[in-house]
Assembly symmetry: C2
Homo-oligomer: 194 residues x 2
DNA sequence: TTTCTTTGATTGACGAGTCAATAAAAACCA
DNA sequence: TGGTTTTTATTGACTCGTCAATCAAAGAAA
């Protein structure tokens, strides 16, 4: 059975199982055994490859952020002009995938962890920096010096709307979320001339 | 020792101890014993008065929200005019108290719990409805029909900015947070004429 | 005495992380 | 080629610790 090169396969299986398990239970209070069982291996193997539960979860979050970053890049290549570029970032943030219960649970628990785990905090910083950079880049041309504060506000608005859509009643509505954020973005772009 | 009317005293002590303990550990993974010890009683008594850990935490969150609501009301009575009323709500949301580590920890864990606990979800709904109502009321006069979507956006912006300030580097800056939100609010108020 | 308060002790269970031991593939060697 | 060693993969069993929740019983006021 033991074939070579199992490590990356096991790691990915664990990462995906972690997200699924946290999505089902809502909490980080899932056990390594549950995650390992879902990934089809013993808990000892999970510890062998990752070291501990927190490291497994951070890896899972890194994965989630990677997928999100890819979504953003994918949307950006088809965008022309500032408004479209901003909308690309916003749309990616509110994609169906990001509103799935497991993704939401991952993010919420990630925020909790970021309070106390340096590694998680670092990862969160990367997310903040990336989205800020993407938005700034899109806004720099039309807004000039105002690009920075507007980007910051759009980023915060994305997070806030995401939170409310995720925890509100009923199924989250991605299009409505996009409109909520773009409503502000367009306002800034229309009064553009710096 | 057993005097009458201990119940409210014990409950309050437990609620405050819960917030302090979660603030110190960051997580809901604190034990009932830790909370009870901090509140100066046995864990059995905590169970006696609240039933279980989740109920203790929900009570703690209800308390936190109550304090916040009082802050908002206090700020509102001194406000005249739409802009000031909005700013009152925003300022209260970013008061030093709300940026204390224990309050932040309470809110973040509350979001996690709201995914799976009906009681927590109901409480979160109350928060959403209240802030929406306060902002709508402040904006209805100058913005008319546009009051609702703008209020929703301001509310989301508050949550988003709060999240970023709390989990960003360094000490949260309440004034900067207020300015970030009011920057948008004023934009809407200036183009006011419906 | 009745009622409220309080806790020590207990139950019954679970969990993270470790370790020694097994299994199998690959690399080395003759 | 056949045999042997090394490396990687894998897990069952175990340690040590924890914890939520219960309960019977005791202390004290009404």
């Amino acid at each position: 059975m033991p074939k070579l090169g199992m490590e990356p396969i096991r790691r990915e299986a664990l990462v995906k199982a972690t997200i699924a398990e946290i999505g089902e239970h809502g909490t980080l209070g899932v056990t390594v055994s549950q995650i390992a069982r879902r990934a089809g291996m013993s808990s000892a193997l999970a510890h062998h490859y990752f070291g501990g539960k927190e490291q497994i979860f951070v890896a899972a979050m890194r994965y989630t952020m990677g997928v999100y970053a890819a979504e953003v890049r994918g949307a950006l290549v088809m965008a022309t002009g500032p408004a479209e570029r901003v909308e690309a970032v916003v749309r990616a943030s509110f994609s169906p995938r990001n509103f799935r219960a497991d993704t939401v649970a991952a993010w919420l628990n990630f925020y909790v962890l970021a309070q106390v785990s340096d590694e998680a905090r670092r990862l969160l910083d990367i997310y903040h920096r990336r989205i800020r950079s993407n938005l700034c880049h899109a806004l720099r041309d039309p807004l000039g010096a105002r690009a920075w504060p507007v980007a910051e506000r759009v980023a915060a608005l994305i997070d806030g709307v995401y939170l409310r859509q995720s925890l509100g009643h009923g199924t989250p509505d991605g299009d409505a979320a996009v409109e909520q954020v773009m409503g502000y973005a367009r306002l800034e772009l229309e009064r553009a001339p710096t």
